[in-house]
């Protein structure tokens, strides 16, 4: 399916999260949907064929329709030290994503980032910076986040150090 400017997935899915799902999910990925309602579930199952996981810790991918309601990160599989790739990827919709400095933004550093980068994330549940710090500490185990807002995407793999300013 072509993702043009008219791409309009059903509520509550927004274009970025839906596009990431369509690019990565298929019959071989177990999907867990949080707060998606019937619309997101029917849409993703129809277009990707991904089977639903019974519990968060059995999912290869989780779609969190509202970042304010995201479950604790330790609800998802972090893989093992020998097989850290068997870990969940969380596709998390948030209210806003913006590259800018200022109070309350996150200062990100680590592989993939030249020095550091400031990211303002709106509408994510409180306490996430602390949980991401724990996630960072347990490397090579860990979960990877793809934050989505509207048509914007910011990927936070387990190697990204998050410092709340």
């Amino acid at each position: 399916m072509a993702l043009g400017p008219d791409f309009a997935p059903p509520h509550p899915l927004e274009p970025a999260a839906a596009a990431v799902c369509l690019a990565l999910l298929d019959l071989d990925t177990r999907l867990w949907i949080d707060g998606g309602g019937d619309g997101a579930e029917a849409y993703l199952r129809f277009h990707t064929g991904a089977p639903l996981a019974d519990a968060p810790d059995e999912a290869d991918f989780a779609v969190i329709a509202d970042g304010a309601m995201i479950p604790r990160l330790d609800s998802f599989s972090p893989g093992t030290d020998e097989l850290p790739e068997r870990s969940a990827t969380l596709i998390v919709q948030v209210a806003g994503l913006e590259s800018r400095a200022g109070e309350g933004v996150w200062r990100l550093s680590g592989p993939g980032i030249d020095g550091n980068a400031d990211l303002a994330v709106e509408g994510l549940r409180a306490g996430m910076a602390e949980e991401l710090a724990v996630n960072f500490q347990r490397f090579p185990r860990g979960v990877d986040l793809i934050l989505c807002a509207g048509a914007r995407v910011a990927a936070l793999p387990r190697t990204t150090k998050v410092e709340a300013l």
């Binding site: 097989l83 790739e85 090579p140």
Partner: protein, 295 residues
């Protein structure tokens, strides 16, 4: 030198692989990027080229390339070898994408055994063809054991091996596929590039992806990531030097190949990176030219 995008041969899926295979490879790539230096298994497919011709690299390239990409393929630094030409043709035919020999114009560079001399940028991706992805293979053949060593970051056997080299030869013998530590954690094979190229991997702007087709492994180094060549305080890592310059462009800092010019033992050195050499010649640099008699 540069071939524009053409019509894709409609008998193929875009870039040959079916969409489900591409998604599977992309998922492996994403985990590989998230866990820098860790080897991620993937379901390698049969390709219309024999193993040893870069089937792992080709599957990675096929999974990331898009209509707007410009592909460069090198083998030992050169764009015009049989292997490089056939891979470039394969993508021109199955994806209809533009190809180039110019490093600066490429968005994706697939390589066997070299890294271009030019600094790569963060809007470029370099894809390495890998024969043996496991750096500990020659020291421990059992995969169950090497997996444990990676899990625990227990790389003592590699340090012992390198130290034995020093005891025996006075230096570390390895000059190709010299092991590196990624982001201070995973031991990784850089593929059979000369150790001369190892420092280029450190904090490189481009995303580095590695595909091993026969062994079904993908691994990665994200842009701006620490890459250290293993060494010892009293025996620091050193790259090859030649004490010679390129006969064509006069460069004394690039990786040089020795070319035998006659049956009297005459030889000369020329840049392994043909695009680098050509660019210097265009810029007015000149080498000593003809063959030097050996003494």
């Amino acid at each position: 030198m540069t071939a524009p995008a053409t019509a894709q041969d409609s008998g193929y899926n875009f870039a040959y692989l079916d969409e489900q295979t591409k998604r599977m490879v992309r998922r492996a790539i994403l985990k590989a990027v998230a866990i820098p230096g860790h080897q991620v298994p993937f379901g390698s497919r049969e390709m219309p080229l024999p193993y040893g011709w870069g089937t792992g690299g080709i599957q990675v390239t096929a999974s990331i390339i898009g209509l707007a990409d410009v592909l460069k393929v090198i083998d030992q630094g050169a764009d015009d070898t049989t292997n490089a030409v056939s891979i470039r043709r394969f993508f021109a035919r199955t994806a209809g994408i533009a190809t180039t020999e110019k490093t600066e114009d490429a968005t994706v560079i697939q390589t066997r055994h070299r890294i271009p001399e030019m600094n790569l940028r963060d809007d470029q991706i370099i894809v390495y063809q890998v024969p043996i992805p496991e750096p500990l293979r020659w020291l421990e053949a059992r995969e169950t054991e090497t997996r444990k060593m990676h899990g625990l970051a227990d790389y003592g056997v590699m340090h012992v091996k390198l130290y034995e080299d020093i005891a025996k030869y006075g230096h570390i013998e390895t000059s190709y596929d010299y092991p590196v530590l990624i982001n201070g954690r995973y031991l990784m094979s850089p593929s059979p590039i000369p150790k001369f190229d190892n420092p280029k991997m450190h904090e490189m702007g481009a995303l580095q992806l590695f595909g091993a087709g026969r062994e079904k492994r993908i691994y990665a180094i994200p842009p701006y990531t620490r890459v250290e060549s293993l060494d010892f305080e009293d025996h620091p890592f050193q790259v090859q030097t030649w004490g010679a310059v390129c006969a064509i462009c006069g460069d004394g800092e690039s990786f040089l190949d020795e070319v035998i010019t006659d049956d009297q033992g005459g030889s000369m050195y020329i840049c392994s990176d043909t695009d680098h050499c050509g660019r210097r010649v265009v810029a007015g640099h000149k080498g000593p030219g003809g063959p030097e008699e050996s003494t």
